[in-house]
Symmetry: C2
Subunit: 213 residues, 2 copies
C-alpha cells in the first residue's frame, strides 16, 4: 500500500487497462488474467502485473483479476472515479475538433468551458459548450473546479495565455504548440508536438530499411 516510486509510463498504461477492461466487461468477461489484458494492450503480462503491484494486490493467484472490481480500483488510482473537468482555450482548427469529440466524455473527461479572444467566435456554441471571452479566463477558472486546461492557441500566444493560466491556479496544461512553456514545477505540462512524432517515424522507417538491406 505504501507509495513507492511509480514509473510515469505506468500511469498511462493504467488508463489503457481501464479502457480495455471496460471493453472486455461490455463483452461479458468477468475474470481477466494478466495474459489476456497484456494481449489486448500489446504488451507483456509481467508489465501488467508489475504496474498493478505498485498500488496493491488486486488479483487472485491461480485465477486472475475480477474485471469489474479491477476497473473500479484503477479508476480510483488514476483519479478517474469522478468526472474530470476540462477547460479549452483557443477554438481554432484543433480546438473545434476537440469540442466535437464526444468520446472524451465516455472516458471521464468533460470539456466544461471554452475560451477564445476572437469577438466573432465568442458566444457561439460548439459541441455543447458556449465559447466565452478569453479575457475572463482567470476569474472563470479560478472559481470552478477545473482539473486540466487544454491550450490550442497559435504558437505566438501560447506563453502569454500560459501565464494567465498560472495566475488562475491551473494545475495541469496540455498544449499543442511546440512547447517553450516554462512553468513552475507544481504545474504539470505536456506538449503534443505532431511534427516531432512525424520526424521520428520518418527517421525510423529510413533506418530500419537500411538495416535490412
Amino acid at each position: 500500500m505504501i507509495t513507492k516510486r511509480v514509473p510515469s509510463e505506468t500511469i498511462g498504461r493504467l488508463f489503457r487497462y481501464f479502457r480495455s477492461l471496460s471493453c472486455l466487461l461490455r463483452e461479458g468477461e468477468e475474470i481477466v488474467s494478466s495474459k489476456t489484458l497484456a494481449e489486448v494492450c500489446h504488451i507483456k503480462p509481467a508489465t501488467v502485473r508489475k504496474d498493478l503491484s505498485y498500488f496493491g494486490e488486486f488479483g487472485t493467484r491461480g485465477v486472475g483479476y475480477d474485471a469489474a472490481s479491477l476497473v473500479n480500483k484503477i479508476k480510483k488510482i488514476i483519479k478517474l472515479d469522478k468526472q474530470i473537468n476540462v477547460a479549452l482555450v483557443g477554438i481554432g482548427n484543433i480546438g473545434r475538433a476537440l469540442l466535437k469529440h464526444s468520446a472524451f466524455e465516455l472516458e471521464g473527461f468533460k470539456i466544461v468551458m471554452a475560451f477564445d479572444n476572437n469577438p466573432s467566435k465568442i458566444g457561439d456554441t460548439v459541441g455543447n459548450v458556449i465559447i466565452e471571452d478569453a479575457a475572463n479566463i482567470r476569474e472563470r477558472i479560478e472559481s470552478s473546479g477545473i482539473h486540466l486546461v487544454i491550450l490550442a492557441v497559435p504558437d505566438y500566444a501560447t506563453s502569454k495565455v500560459a501565464k494567465v493560466l498560472q495566475l488562475a491556479g491551473a494545475k495541469s496544461i496540455l498544449s499543442f504548440s511546440p512547447c517553450g512553456l516554462s512553468m513552475p514545477a507544481d504545474i504539470q505540462v505536456t506538449c503534443i508536438d505532431l511534427s516531432v512524432e512525424m520526424a521520428r517515424l520518418v527517421y525510423n522507417s529510413c533506418v530500419d530499411y537500411r538495416e535490412k538491406v
Copy 2:
C-alpha cells in the same frame, strides 16, 4: 560516423534543435553553443552534445557550432533535407484540422493526398488538397512517393484501413485512434492518444499536490 545505437528520444530532440536553430538563424545568430541551444530547448547542454555526437563531430572546441551548417547537417541526419510527402486518411474533425495547418510545410512535411470514404466529402478541397475516394488508397499510395500516412478515421475503421495501408506498402503510420494496431515490424507506428496524456496529467497533479502537503 559509425552508427551506434541511437536513443529514440534523440531523434525527437534533433528535430527540435532543427526548429530552434532555424529560428536562431532568422534572428541573426551565426554561432551557437550547446549551452545556448540547451536553454532554448529547456534541456541540458550535455544532452545536446551527446545527441550530436552519435552522428559525428560538428562543433569547434572552445567556440561552438556554426548554426547554418549545423542545421543542414541535422536536416540530412533526420532525412528532412527533402520534402516529406504525407497522405492523410479520414477527413473528419481531426483530419480537417491537420489539412488547414499550414505550418507543417515550413517544417518539411507536406500533405499531398487526402482520402475519405464519405461520398459527400469526396471531391471537396480542404487546404490545397482534393479529397479522394478511400477506395483508391492502395493504388494511389503504392505508386507515389509517400513517406508517411496519417490515420484520422473513427476507431472502428482504424485496423481495417491500416491493413489496406500495409498492402499499399506504407512505411510509417501516425494514428489518432487509441492504438490496437498490430503491424509487421517493418512498418513504424505511433499512436497519439490524448486521453492517455490527459490521464497522466491529472494523476501527476494530484500526486504532486499530495507530496507537498
